[in-house]
């Protein structure tokens, strides 16, 4: 699971899509999979009665359970329902983009997400950091902020800060409020300062809690850093193949769990995203190619 990444992804997407996206459905989409499932993973106490899943990881990501909330099809389904209600394409696909961002981001841990449910209940996982939701939320926080999870969140913190334009009042007025009907409706009752604060709230929450959890985990509680792939190793973690079938899977998702492949994949995707694909292509073009043997012609007799 990811923590601050889900708070900050919508701002990064907003920066790249501008008026083509509606912020509130995008944000709700980004939170939706965990809103529906995470409370039962950690457990809650209502009127003295403790409600908690027997197998939290299975409930959170697997099937049977609420793992379908982390599938791409779930996003499309809710998007279609939103379209049927509001007849607004932008609202519908903004939700889908937010929910897909969440599902794809959660592939980073050792459990992953059932991306193509109900066509398959296979869990696609990169396995970069340990899934430890079953240990309770404080140990989970300590583990997440001691492994590569906090690095992943840190990428979004930096990316979010680099997208500072989307946080300005002028941008909110000219772009966010124009594209999203929610702000027009809310603007009838609330001042612009309140609307801007609400718009910035998830960014504030993401950056501030990322900082606070890091301090808590390593200054107050002294959890040990372990930045190895799949770490930290000191926490009991759950793997995708423990939940669903297919112990040895040859699909690209599982193969990329190997650190080297995952690392090269991230570097290649980063290079392409930053527009430096030319240099990678040039490098590949310069690489020695195997010569083809000339075809032998059959002699006619």
């Amino acid at each position: 699971m990811s923590w601050a990444a889900h708070d900050l992804e919508p701002y990064v997407i907003q920066k790249h899509m501008g008026r083509k996206v509606a912020f509130v459905p995008l944000l709700i989409g980004s939170y939706a999979p965990d809103m529906l499932s995470k409370w039962f993973v950690y457990g809650v106490t209502l009127a003295g009665l403790e409600l908690k899943a027997d197998t939290p990881a299975q409930f959170h990501r697997g099937w049977p359970g609420a793992g379908f909330t982390h599938s791409l099809t779930f996003g499309v389904l809710i998007g279609l329902i939103l379209y049927a209600i509001w007849r607004n394409k932008v609202v519908a696909y903004s939700f889908v983009i937010g929910q897909w961002a969440h599902a794809l981001t959660d592939m980073g841990d050792t459990v992953g997400s059932m991306l193509f449910f109900p066509f398959t209940d296979h869990l696609f996982a990169f396995g970069a950091w340990a899934y430890a939701g079953q240990t309770g939320r404080y140990t989970d926080a300590g583990a997440y902020f001691s492994g590569l999870g906090f690095v992943w969140d840190g990428v979004f913190v930096v990316w979010g800060i680099l997208s500072w334009r989307v946080l300005t009042r002028g941008y909110f007025r000219e772009t966010v409020a124009v594209a999203d009907p929610f702000w027009n409706w809310a603007g009838r009752y609330l001042s612009e300062t309140t609307l801007v604060a609400l718009y910035r709230a998830s960014f504030f929450y993401g950056v501030a809690r990322w900082t606070a959890w890091l301090i808590w985990a390593h200054v107050v509680r002294s959890f040990a850093f372990d930045l190895r792939w799949g770490g930290p190793r000191w926490v009991p973690r759950v793997y995708a193949d423990e939940l669903n079938a297919a112990a040895v899977c040859k699909c690209p998702g599982c193969c990329s769990m190997r650190p080297r492949l995952g690392f090269y994949g991230i570097v290649a995707v980063g290079a392409v995203a930053k527009g430096r694909a030319g240099s990678v292509r040039a490098l590949l073009a310069e690489a020695p190619r195997r010569r083809r043997r000339p075809k032998r012609r059959l002699k006619r007799r």
């Binding site: 708070d7 501008g18 008026r19 939170y31 939320r137 404080y138 926080a141 500072w164 334009r165 989307v166 300005t168 009042r169 002028g170 941008y171 909110f172 007025r173 000219e174 772009t175 001042s191 300062t193 309140t194 604060a197 609400l198 910035r200 709230a201 998830s202 504030f204 929450y205 950056v207 501030a208 809690r209 900082t211 606070a212 959890w213 301090i215 808590w216 200054v219 107050v220």
Partner: protein, 69 residues
């Protein structure tokens, strides 16, 4: 100003809204301090949003009323 409504440079943005930024930063520092002392505070988005509204909307409004000449 650019087509999307944002200022052309970061310097312009800071010049126009440094007071607002300072308010948000102060809110952030206090939020982190409370969160480190009481981690339960960090779990809820609703608590964070309510806290931010208190800092950047309600508090300036109260201060303006108190110190209005």
């Amino acid at each position: 100003m650019r087509g999307d409504g944002s200022p052309p440079t970061l310097r312009d943005a800071l010049a126009a809204g440094w007071r607002e930024l300072a308010l948000y930063l102060a809110a952030g520092v206090v939020y982190v301090a409370i969160g480190v002392a009481f981690p339960e505070f960090l779990f809820s988005w609703v608590v964070a949003a309510g806290y931010l509204l208190l800092w950047v909307v309600v508090l300036p409004l109260l201060l303006r009323r108190v110190f209005r000449p």
